[in-house]
Symmetry: C3
Subunit: 452 residues, 3 copies
Amino acid sequence: LEDILITGGQKDADNLFTFSRNCYALVIGILGTGDFSRSLARRLVACGCRVVVGSRTPSRFVALFPEEAEVTHMEAANQADLVFVAVYPEHYSTLVHLKPALAGKALVDVSNGLQIKQEGPSNAQQLADLFPESSVVKGFNTTSAWTLQAGPRDGSRQVLLCSDDQMAKSSVMQLCRRMGFIPVDMGLLSSSLEIENLPLYLFPSWRTPIICTLALFIFFYLYNSVHEVLHPYITGGKNKLYKLPIEIVNVTFPSVALVMLALVYLPGVIAAFLQLWRGTKYTRFPDWLDHWLTRRKQFGLCSFLCAALHAVYSLCLPMRKSARFQLLNKAFEQVKAGNADSWVEADVWRMELYLSVGIMALGLLSLLAVTSLPSVANTVNWREFTFIQSTLGYCALFMGTLHTLIFGWDRAFLAAQYHFGLPPTFLLVLILPLTVLLSRLKCRYLIMHQIM
Amino acid sequence: LEDILITGGQKDADNLFTFSRNCYALVIGILGTGDFSRSLARRLVACGCRVVVGSRTPSRFVALFPEEAEVTHMEAANQADLVFVAVYPEHYSTLVHLKPALAGKALVDVSNGLQIKQEGPSNAQQLADLFPESSVVKGFNTTSAWTLQAGPRDGSRQVLLCSDDQMAKSSVMQLCRRMGFIPVDMGLLSSSLEIENLPLYLFPSWRTPIICTLALFIFFYLYNSVHEVLHPYITGGKNKLYKLPIEIVNVTFPSVALVMLALVYLPGVIAAFLQLWRGTKYTRFPDWLDHWLTRRKQFGLCSFLCAALHAVYSLCLPMRKSARFQLLNKAFEQVKAGNADSWVEADVWRMELYLSVGIMALGLLSLLAVTSLPSVANTVNWREFTFIQSTLGYCALFMGTLHTLIFGWDRAFLAAQYHFGLPPTFLLVLILPLTVLLSRLKCRYLIMHQIM
Amino acid sequence: LEDILITGGQKDADNLFTFSRNCYALVIGILGTGDFSRSLARRLVACGCRVVVGSRTPSRFVALFPEEAEVTHMEAANQADLVFVAVYPEHYSTLVHLKPALAGKALVDVSNGLQIKQEGPSNAQQLADLFPESSVVKGFNTTSAWTLQAGPRDGSRQVLLCSDDQMAKSSVMQLCRRMGFIPVDMGLLSSSLEIENLPLYLFPSWRTPIICTLALFIFFYLYNSVHEVLHPYITGGKNKLYKLPIEIVNVTFPSVALVMLALVYLPGVIAAFLQLWRGTKYTRFPDWLDHWLTRRKQFGLCSFLCAALHAVYSLCLPMRKSARFQLLNKAFEQVKAGNADSWVEADVWRMELYLSVGIMALGLLSLLAVTSLPSVANTVNWREFTFIQSTLGYCALFMGTLHTLIFGWDRAFLAAQYHFGLPPTFLLVLILPLTVLLSRLKCRYLIMHQIM
């Protein structure tokens, strides 16, 4: 490998070939004896590579490396053509005595950070500073010991690589492919900070959508509690606290679901109006809109989760003791009143209609959710994706709105629904979806008008 | 790159190496400044490539390309070694003045068609006709600007490529891999028409199954409406219209689900009989059978969707006002009749049995549906796939049939079920599944007999 | 290709290039005319390769190979540079007359075994013994004819390869990539036995979890039957057999689900205690623990399946005739007793609480199940994976335990629940989850104590 790093026309060509052909004959060194080191060694041996593992105390862990030689750090550095550095970054300085042995060789920094760093130097850059005569390649830190050990059979795992030395990076990419991974070139070593941060993120794209969902949930939960628990207590002294765990939750979830679904389509409408107003699509959107547009999938999935929970809660309603007791008391009343038929046609129709519209909305949302699974999304083309996420998505929003409208029906005009002067929940909930649906129609009209 | 295109033994080898090593030093040109162009430029810069973007009016969009030089078309064509053509196909003719500058270079046509074309020439072929001295490679049209920008981290995206010039194609494939995509060689430039059509299809494999589902749904919905709404109105003047949104739909969905599931296994049975009858498995099946066989997964998923909706509708039944009113009236009747115990053992057993068989059928269908997700299907081997789709699939068909049989039980022999002389729905529904199950047994018997 | 196999410095380099450049000009031979052969030929032709198919009786199947020449075995062997052997292993000996024609060429063995073999020689090794002058590469046996024909567009399919000849393996890997597959190097030909066994396994990782689930199901089903069917019959002569299909099953599933969920987290707790007790994390775990740790995902999915079925069964309860009859009889009783209000606050609260905790537990388990889909698991980093599987998983276990505790509430202390002296089911079920939760807390405490 040393020769490869010497620049030059024909000589390089020969050596790269030699590398390609002799990749198996190549000796791969690994400094460090942790979990990652062991898994990496096993994987490399399985690919037919010769591996030497450098240890501070070679005798101690001999049992762990049955198939590959375990030697001292210095021996490993001397024998290897390409060296993986699998020791903790804080111990890098203990390797400085290997500098002459590692000169001219490719060093792969597989380390991870302990916390997200906004500013460098990254671990890989620190290693490069310590070994200026070696070529440091950052990579494999996003790969777990488990994936290495099991082999990449269960799904294609990508390995992000970067380095200032293109030849060293090429060698590592080639090794990567042999191991069954898919190397992705991330450019120069300055990208290593980003690569080191990647495994430390905790659902960054979910933060805003989850905060939104929680905020809406708390708001609507309190609003509904005032309506359905506090109001009957204050005005009639009735104890309706039993409604808190299920009934109030079941009115809150659909509210959150519908508002979140409207929030999925709102940024698209805003963007369209912005483009129409500016008269061009070649200007950047403001950052907050850009951010919102890229989070639509997460907003949609949060909406689906709330809708699904609403469905489960609703289906649980007739199973509860409270529903049973109410029904029995109602039967008692009916018998006492001598009322042979309690059928109310309007109530029956309202319920049949809003249930069936609700099921359709949930069915459409389920389709959207399944299609947002990465493996399904990968099999549809752009036109199909747009059809599902836009056409079917607007259908779901329309169905959800209709579900709420049928539920509200004549109740919106009953003064009895305005407890403490507060409008009933469904009125609040309908504002945003109706705005989005009407704006969308307006926007369509404007675009058609413009074209004509 | 020009040199690469010169044929010749050793010279080529050297140059390809030079290309490989200097890929980062290579200047990539992009003609056009749209969304795709911007995303492609960013991705290439992230991979360490030098990028020049050719624009008709370089000054105007300067803000959009902060990291890469934006120049005139001519400058881009002159500086670049490999050129992406990212302008609309109808503007290709405006590029003819670049012909000398582009001679001997690889041109990548990333354009999409506006509608599916059955006959050529494709956009790429038109470009090749305009620039006979350049090597046109078709590709990247199936890749969205979004995927380019986000990087291919979220799932491995394949890039379909074709070209008449193998060296140019090889270079683009190599660039592709560096960007983290998986190039797939689709052969000569004559494949470009197919590649351009790919993003325009709208679920071609779902057309037949969805049409089947809709046709069956409409048929059974009307048939059930006659039975359950029209018949009581005509014979007894009873208004049962409230059954239309939920109850009729809930009888229709399971019918469609079971017939569709039978249609999944029917073509396999037909094919087996055809092979037994012809005495060989080395003849092609008729086209309609071949088409049907390749659509079985979609038929199965439609069946699952109907079965799942049937489950949701059924679970909603006790929640409805209509069910509540009927129960209250029934309680009233029972009290008036002085009947202390209304328990009917046979009715109880029938319901417990057909519910539990129904749940099992749905459970099996859910397993089949989960296993047909691409990422899950990729992790099972052939034997496991056959076990699930064939063995478990037939179990689901058997359970579904049994569910319907238990529901029908003695009702098939009651004259009261034959409204207007029409047999009850479940009798119609059972024909196809029973045929498939019995044919399968017969077929098994024949094969075993043949072997012995 | 012959030349490539000659070892030597510069000469090789040139030839490999020649190969690379002329890959399309390369003639690929396929011996055999079965389904696999046809699909492979079509795929290779689509990639621009020249293909000759060797047949015992070339005239017979001529219609099946419209695009590629079909010739005799000998002609194919002579013309081809790289040969796929697609005949049944038991017919390998009929190919020995091709030995001179195949000498120095790469032979790809695509055969599968008929049953799992623990000991060699594998088919590929037998082929290598028959053709010592050719270079045998094992591969493509895990790829179905269907995948070959449809192209690898629908998800990245890996092709496992092994060979003792690195150059031959490299050529096949390159061909593999051109076809859009991802070659994975599995090392020397001695790995071929494992590769041949791969398609024959039938869910090996699911065996233990499924046996566990079934054993627990049978145990709890019998235990509950004694409690709820046998006991009322023996003590009161009441026939409660109707409970067998649904009610008993619905008490059994949650028991199995909770115990299985505890079994997911038990091995982790045992491993942690073992490491604390040994004072080091650098010793191997006993085999049974290692085996158990790698099966946690499957245990978890079995638990989720049982929990989901429990939910469906529970939701079906109010829909049953038996529930209806009991309710009607209850209404009759209430009217006869003149009891206007049957509301029992404690019963209402217990049910509302344990339903809502149960829904939360199921929601968390659903999240865990979705995240264990390969395509979703691939998109989360290690920290996110740990958060979901460990933090959310323990929450689900806690919620499930709480659900059972609230259900049990005061019933654990009622002598009437101890039929035949046997404790009620929920007491048995709680043992393991409570043990795991408390051990986990203890373990956390020990680790924190150690650090301080």
